[in-house]
Amino acid sequence: VTTTETPETTHDALFFASHDEMLGGAAPFLRDGLEAGEHVVLICDDDTGAALAGALDHDQRITVLPREQVYQRAPEAIATYREFVAEQKDNGVRRVRVAGEIGFTGQEADWTEFVRFEAGLNDGFEASLSNLCMYDRRALDRDTLVAAAVTHRYLRTNGERIENSRYVDPADVLRRVSAPAPDPVGAGGATLVVDALDRLSELRRLVREIVGHAAPEASPDDVDNLVIAVNEVAGNALQHGTGNVRVRLWVTRERAVCTVSDAGDGFLDPFVGILPEPPDNLSDDGMGLWLVRQLCDEFTAYRTRDGFTVRLAIRFH
């Protein structure tokens, strides 16, 4: 089924295994945008970016953003997209067209992050973004390609736009990825075990003490981020959870993983903390989890037999 362009936010996927397939899918999409007076953003590797810019005659309305900086953590990437769109709107550009070449390493943690990013892109924007995610079949692993296949409503190929029969509602996707495989660090005994949390200040003191011993080379910023994140999730459980709040912390030289569990139902909205919140919304309950997601490398929330668990992890630099 071929469809015509709609004014709403679009989020399409292009799968390619050759230079021609890439150009054949992406160049018409971008050219349509330029012809309609839109601006174009390329977030690609150098070769792909150069090929696309060349195909578009190096139009001056093309902006190139560094791929490594944009695709770090899902909320930041979404925030970057949002900021760019807002900036262009201020300049009188009514719509932005993005071609982003996705490059994740395929580790489990990166993969869930990536699914969140893709799912977040579907819901997070006003009608001013046309987004094309490009996947190099030769470079990406199967899990990433499968995830990409279910998170895009439309597929692009050779100038055509085709409805994706494998598309799944983003909320369902997020729920589906929210029961994580056991973490390798989590397999051993935890460094910190708290079964009935009482004072957050005491928890923070313990976290600092343990990291100081187990990861003495962790940067002060990373330690601060971990303390803020653990405090926020634990405080959330104290405030909104049911029964005793249980905390487990595993710390190695490279990384810290923390789980916070209670007997309640947890938060049902899989988007909590993913979308950027306006800065005047400090009273919003989601603000704390949003902050946590800015500070962590991994964040998952899932139901267990006994209740609800949030797991977060930070890599030390």
């Binding site: 200040s201 405080g235 400090l282």
Partner: protein, 275 residues
């Protein structure tokens, strides 16, 4: 290294101090530290307690548990117990200082709990006594630790307490205000952000200043609830044209403030150092 750091982060035990305690352990720890400071300085420590209190609650017992020779201190008049009525003499608490001077002390510190004070004073008389004490502590060699249990004290009394004390302490947070500056030290989270908010309201309630400097250099932790308290506690002041400058935050504190957009709120500025 730790002790030096802790010491420099502490805003001290002198002046007219509001102690907010949420448990008996917290009250005893703070009370003992405050008394020991006075005994170290050679000051007279005056205290009043309720007759119907259980013995383990009493100051002599609290001090004995911490190894203080209470009998000798009492004998020498360094530790001086008074009935609640005499703690509030008719001529005002300046008399307690005169008395101590006659007995050779150059300075005194006095303490009681609100629940004790309210057995002999009306709420209004107590508010007046706090005002007088605020004046005495800023002009005389006198300091006072006023012990408030926020959960068990009428709201109006607690609010007046915030306004009458330039220094406020709970188990995690200390603050001290002087002309247009509020010094904060310690940690602020969801379990004490109400203290910060009330402190800010009091600091901005009856001020002639149009700018409030908030020194964050001794704050080692804050989060979302604390940021909300910073915004809400200064809302009135800013709505009336006042400006708030947050300065000298440490790394993690600065990051939290920026990520949460506190510095984007109207009339709130965040600077690395006070110029």
């Amino acid at each position: 290294v730790t002790s030096i750091r802790e010491e420099s982060l502490d805003l001290g035990w002198d002046g007219h101090l509001l102690l907010l305690h949420r448990s008996e352990d917290e009250r005893r720890d703070a009370l003992a530290a405050w008394v020991l400071r006075g005994l170290d300085l050679g000051e007279r420590v005056v205290f009043a307690e309720r007759d119907d209190d259980p013995p383990d609650r009493s100051l002599p017992n609290v001090l004995r548990q911490r190894g203080v020779d209470v009998a000798t201190a009492s004998e020498q008049g360094r530790l001086h117990a008074l009935p609640a009525r005499e703690y509030y003499p008719e001529g005002g608490q300046i008399e307690l200082l005169h008395q101590a001077r006659e007995e050779g002390f150059s300075a005194i510190r006095i303490t009681t709990e609100t629940r004790t004070a309210l057995t002999v004073l009306s709420v209004r008389a107590y508010a007046e006594a706090e005002s007088t004490l605020e004046f005495l502590c800023s002009t005389q060699p006198m300091s006072a630790l006023c012990q408030y249990a926020p959960g068990e004290t009428p709201g109006g009394v607690v609010q007046n307490g915030y306004e009458r004390h330039p220094a406020v302490r709970d188990a995690q947070l200390q603050s001290r205000r002087e002309d247009g500056t509020l010094l904060l030290a310690g940690e602020i989270d969801q379990q004490n952000s109400d203290v910060l908010e009330a402190t800010l309201r009091a600091a901005t309630a009856n001020t002639a200043e149009d700018m409030l400097w908030i020194d964050l250099s001794r704050v080692v932790f804050l989060e979302v609830h604390a940021c909300r308290a910073l915004v809400m506690g200064t809302q009135h002041f800013r709505d009336d044209g006042g400006d708030v400058v947050l300065h000298s935050p440490t790394g993690g504190v600065r990051r939290a403030l920026r990520l949460l957009g506190v510095h984007l709120q109207p009339r709130i500025t965040l600077v690395r150092e006070r110029p």
